[in-house]
Symmetry: C2
Subunit: 364 residues, 2 copies
């Protein structure tokens, strides 16, 4: 199948770039003796997850139990649900997953740990636990190392749980510039304080898990961290470029769209809008645009409706015609992939792979 036969809008992945991204992260992790546990939220495909495992990933990360169920198809030895699992039904499903892979849950409360312990004990199983530290994002996790170790101590006493260590997500580091790197290196102090108190409490500390795509290749600069969980690196996107962690040449995934109208005075309409790209703005808070038109980087993707993308074109760029197919680099590839039924892997001009987005909509 030729790339021109893909019906738009659709996501096309350049396989050469994608494979280079996979290998580069795997090699980096090996070189620095870091366990790579990719977050599958970006691709939501067990086939890609399997590739990551075959390149040496120590396990997989998911956010939801429904994603864990899908990712069992990749036959991971080890699965991290980096999200508190709350509620009896979800816990029952989690334990079913744990019959097929070692499962660890990241959580930040005794309530979550108690529920997990009760469910696991009832099933006669053991589930791993990471306690989540908040190192600056202000989302989940405990900011105070003393409180965190107190919680870990309580969790260590609960039956059917195996305390493995602690985890964090440095989501506050949006850019790899001097300021961003300073923020990232500041995480060290928090990790050191927690690790010191943790060990002083006599708790087992097998895993300190962190990482993100922007900070990926600086992971070794946090010497205590021994596991990283990047997700976006497989494809990269406009946010990754803005963060300074990738170049255009590292971006594997584009949205193919077709020009459907040129009636607008200021530009054209393409056949993808918020149901194709998501309406995520740039995470760095830059200009409010929704993607980069590769065929005319001077164009501005200024607005979306559900199925319409509004692209403003300077006069000199108004050579696009109805029916033209163009490539757009999205702001945030994870949420874009989640809107599609499948992703096309292309080599040159040929479609070589079609990946179903198996974990799309597995929100529970």
């Amino acid at each position: 199948m030729h790339v021109s036969e893909i019906e738009t809008p659709a996501i096309a992945v350049d396989l050469d770039v994608f494979e280079r991204n996979l290998t580069r992260a795997a090699d980096y992790a090996k070189a620095h003796q870091l366990r790579l546990r990719p977050h599958t939220k970006t691709h939501k495909s067990s086939v890609i997850a399997r590739m990551q495992l075959e390149l040496g990933a120590a396990g997989l990360t998911v956010a939801k139990v429904g994603e864990a169920e899908v990712m069992l198809r990749a036959e991971p030895a080890d699965l991290l649900v980096a999200y508190p699992v709350i509620g009896e039904r979800k816990l029952r499903r989690l334990l079913e997953v744990a019959r097929h892979a070692q499962v660890t849950v990241a959580l930040d409360s005794l309530e979550a740990a108690q529920g997990l312990s009760d469910a696991a004990a009832k099933a006669g199983m053991e589930i791993g636990v990471l306690v989540e530290e908040d190192v600056g994002l202000g989302r989940v996790g405990l900011t105070d190392s003393h409180q965190l170790v107190t919680l870990a101590t309580s969790i260590a006493k609960l039956p059917a749980l195996r305390l493995r260590g602690f985890n964090f997500y440095p989501g506050q580091v949006k850019a790899i510039d001097a300021d961003g790197l300073a923020k990232f290196h500041a995480v060290n102090a928090a990790l050191e304080e927690t690790a010191t108190l943790w060990r002083a409490a006599g708790l087992p500390l097998e895993v300190i898990s962190g990482g993100s795509t922007p900070t990926l290749f600086h992971s070794h600069e946090l010497p205590l961290m021994n596991e990283i969980r990047p997700g976006t690196y497989v494809f990269n996107d406009r946010n990754t470029i803005e963060s300074g962690a990738a170049t255009l040449a590292d971006c594997a995934a584009h949205v193919l769209v077709t020009v459907v109208s040129t009636s607008r005075a200021s530009g054209m309409i393409v056949d993808g809008g918020s149901k194709t790209f998501s309406s995520d703005r740039l995470s760095t808070g830059g200009e409010v645009t929704f993607g980069l038109l590769r065929e005319a980087p001077e164009a501005k993707f200024v607005k979306m409706n559900e199925e319409h993308g509004y692209i403003d074109l300077p006069a000199a760029s108004r050579h696009f015609r109805i029916g033209d197919r163009v490539r757009i680099l999205p702001n945030h590839i994870c949420v874009a992939v989640n809107l599609h039924e499948r992703v096309y892997g292309i080599r040159g001009e040929e479609v070589e792979q079609i990946w179903e987005i198996e974990a799309r909509g597995k929100l529970q």
Copy 2:
């Protein structure tokens, strides 16, 4: 199944409110002799589409051919694809749909019409056409009535097409206040000019199709319009309330979420983020929040990550605990529904219906 057994995050539809919304619009259209041709983009369910047809809808509206394929299951006599269909493969699929229902396409260019005509002629079929007028949104459509009628005249000469009239979308009317109504009534002048030139050109004018949810119950104030295509009215959302076209009591669909963390100093985290709600902001450009917490309207849903909703709570409202389930009215229900595999229809506390979102991801 009790509502408490629905795993979160999930969309629950209050069937009493939903049915009242369906009936109210159907009764309004009948009272004013308007053809109601609901846009199915909101629910993406052929089962709900069938309900709309049984209440008297004259046909259905879709944006994409993939949606048209799904909506054939509702057995509509008449389907409007309110979107230019560009490209041979899409046209072939459209003609296959047209074997099962009368199909009309809205378009704004001779290129789109020519492609449609060529494909239909080759298949020995006839497809209806509406020419799109831009009455102020600046998206697709021609603003100049003379140009529009010139295009319609050319289209009338093409084989295998049946020119049925013209259509518009008053998306620039975001609020039903004095200013918004003035904008809406101003559409009359554009319609009159086009209709006058259209008839003077001797073209058939069976349909003048317009309408939106905010303007729904003012449709009779545009006397030339004889068909309306609202979508959101089946559920309504925070945007509809902001527009002044609905009250909280008219909002049928909420996202059920569970509190998963209370570690944040300023509030709590719930188990739905941009992959559950979409990151659409309010269309009226009001405050940047992502939904209304029904159990604590003073709370502010200030931020999202993919699977995390950040809800700020004033001190007096911090009585939520991990595991609590709450209801959130989303900003934009159409894009939220599109992220879910199914929607639960509830009556009181019981789940009475489960609708698959059959046209989810049917982007092509």
